[in-house]
């Protein structure tokens, strides 16, 4: 039996990182996720596992520290919230361009601008449509519980190193701040330099006599070389789309209507489904666990069964565009969500379902 603890989502990220044998965390304080670094600093993992924890001078610096660590084949991560993650976009496109693995946690708050410290899901576009410049993608996992906050740390590192690509854990202020019981993994050892050299021969651990020098860079001065590299990136993304789609379905077998929701919205919508079903509305939910790659095929499959879909998100309507693209407008797709730091109630979701899709 794994160890059971009552924790905040942010604390679970920190605890899971130590136990996964992560090599380094570099961060800058911002509400509502400062508990991640606070927990790490209080735990002092440098005395136990040797994990480096450093408070940087800005999010710009912390994402570039992540770049430096990732270039050495180390398992390194950072966390922040929306305005800080905007500052990290430069680093993220460089990480993607240099094909470096890392994990970035965004505990989303309301925007635009400095916005509010209350929860939101309005960074969906920034996360899955690019954010930084150039043709790149972030593999994106959306936890809906404190347990998933913990579990997705190790999963994210596995995906990051499998594809040599940054992975974003797209959480929000609800999941980051709320407390739930969480089962924690046993402590795992950090990777040795020999292990890194053997398994990740691109890492800059110092040029050995038996190999050419390793160069971590994203610069390609020749357009033809850059295009060829971009084709390689695109092939990688197709492979991610083929192999890494993750989703959960709730009461979909007999559903006439489908709610599509992720993260804390999905938690709220579980209650909405109970309320709606008590009223005789046959509604189910598809919860994307990976936002990129998006569960396009499964949505198209459900589009053949249901009369309409409601994308419920704490934004003015972002994921709804991907739902529409997925079902190719074969069924009506509507959006509902409170935003700017406000959180919808289960009842509001049912009302929206009735008004926007069922009619009257």
């Amino acid at each position: 039996m794994r160890e059971l603890k009552l924790m905040k989502g942010n604390e679970a990220i920190a605890e899971a990182a130590i136990r996964a044998g992560v090599d380094g965390y570099f961060g800058y304080p911002i509400t509502p996720q400062s508990e991640v670094m606070e927990t790490l600093m209080a735990e002092k993992p440098w005395e136990t596992t040797g994990m480096v924890v450093l408070q940087a001078e800005s999010e710009t610096a912390s994402i570039n520290m992540v770049y430096g660590g990732a270039g050495c084949g180390k398992r390194v991560m950072t966390s922040s919230s929306s305005p800080g993650v905007s500052l990290m976009q430069e680093g993220l496109t460089y990480l993607a361009g240099a094909e470096l693995p890392c994990v970035v946690v965004n505990v989303v708050r309301g925007g635009p601008g400095l916005g509010t410290i209350q929860p939101a899901q309005s960074d969906y576009f920034q996360t899955v449509k690019g954010g930084g410049h150039g043709d790149y993608k972030l593999i994106t996992l959306a936890p809906a519980s404190v347990q998933e906050m913990a579990d997705f740390v190790e999963l994210s590192f596995d995906l990051a190193f499998k594809y040599r690509n940054p992975v974003m854990i797209l959480s929000d202020g609800v999941i980051g701040q709320m407390m739930e019981k969480v089962e924690l993994n046993e402590q795992k050892p950090r990777w040795t330099e020999d292990y890194i050299n053997e398994n990740y021969p691109w890492a800059t651990t110092g040029k050995k006599a038996n190999r050419a020098k390793n160069i971590i860079t994203s610069v390609q001065l020749e357009a033809s070389v850059q295009e060829e590299f971009n084709h390689k990136l695109q092939a990688k993304y197709r492979s991610v789309e083929e192999n890494e789609v993750r989703f959960e379905e709730v009461m979909c077998d007999d559903a006439e209507y489908l709610i599509v929701a992720y993260g804390s919205s999905a938690r709220i919508c579980q209650k909405s489904i109970e309320i709606a079903r008590a009223k005789g509305i046959k509604v189910g939910m598809l919860r994307p666990i990976t936002l990129y790659p998006f569960p396009t095929e499964q949505l198209m499959k459900r589009a053949k069964q249901v009369k309409g879909m409601l994308s419920v998100e704490m934004s003015a309507g972002q994921m709804v565009e991907d739902v529409k693209l997925a079902v190719e407008c074969s069924v009506p797709v509507e959006h509902f969500g409170r935003f700017g730091g406000s959180v919808h109630s289960p009842g509001e979701v049912v009302e929206a379902l009735e008004q926007k899709l069922i009619g009257g």
């Binding site: 992540v66 430096g68 110092g206 040029k207 971590i216 610069v219």
Partner: protein, 254 residues
């Protein structure tokens, strides 16, 4: 008269190109100081026997392709971010030797925060700073270190300090921070200065091995293309104009 084959015997060799330099053609303009500084770093790495434990951080600017010229592992950073990369590399692998190689725009404008805070934390790294008072690669724009009255493509009538401020003496600022152990300003435009620069670079790497904190080696260099002068004229201009504002020598040595 000795036969040439007698002369070129290994025991008679007193100088050769270090193997840490690659065979690639340099992308730098003829007359530029970058190539000389690269050679000095390569020689120091070879002489200290640290080729297999040294990681270089290349910047954005003329030396963005520095990784093509030294046979060590490299990471190339976003503009100004090299000290952040170097911080993580050194903290995660404290037994390695880590240096950043940056120009004036990179280190003293866009990367000022990363530079100051890496030095303030006393990161145990070497920062090599090429100050030629201009943005060379992008075509000769005004740099944070462009001299008063000096013309550049974004100040074609000369730097107006009432509009753009005085050129920043970043090394003097960094010397104020307790985290730096060694801050020096050198040049590579004469044989004597080349020898001094090499000594400074060697000392900086030795400081790192002695865990003394951040060492900054500034090299005031010419940019004959950006300054629109012949290499010889640019070195004369540098002596007459750059050195009075950026005097050579140790600023801090602890």
């Amino acid at each position: 008269m000795s036969d040439i084959n007698t002369i070129i015997k290994p025991e008679n060799l007193i100088y050769k190109r270090t193997d840490v330099l690659s065979d690639n053609d340099l992308s730098y303009c003829p007359g530029c100081g970058h190539g000389t500084v690269h050679k000095l770093i390569a020689e120091v790495i070879e002489e200290m026997g640290i080729q297999d434990t040294t990681i270089g951080i290349a910047p954005v600017g003329c030396s963005v392709l520095a990784y093509n010229y030294l046979e060590i592992d490299w990471q190339q950073a976003a503009h100004g971010r090299a000290p952040a990369l170097a911080t993580a590399v050194k903290r995660l692998m404290p037994e390695k030797n880590v240096f950043s190689y940056q120009g004036d725009g990179d280190l003293a404008a866009i990367g000022t925060a990363e530079t100051i805070h890496a030095c303030n934390r006393g990161e145990n790294i070497v920062m090599i700073f090429i100050n030629n008072g201009i943005y060379g690669m992008t075509g000769g724009q005004m740099a944070p270190t462009t001299l008063p009255g000096m013309a550049a493509s974004t100040c074609p009538h000369g730097r107006d300090v009432s509009h753009d401020g005085e050129p920043i003496k970043i090394s003097e600022i960094l010397a104020q921070l307790p985290g730096t152990c060694y801050v020096t300003r050198q040049s590579v435009h004469t044989a004597a200065n080349v020898r001094k620069s090499k000594k400074a670079l060697r000392k900086a790497f030795e400081n790192q091995q002695a865990n003394k904190g951040t060492s900054l080696v500034e090299i005031v260099s010419n940019c004959n293309s950006g300054w629109k002068m012949t290499p010889i004229k640019s070195n004369e201009w540098m002596e007459e104009n750059m050195f009075p504002y950026y005097p050579l020598g140790d600023i801090k040595n602890q």
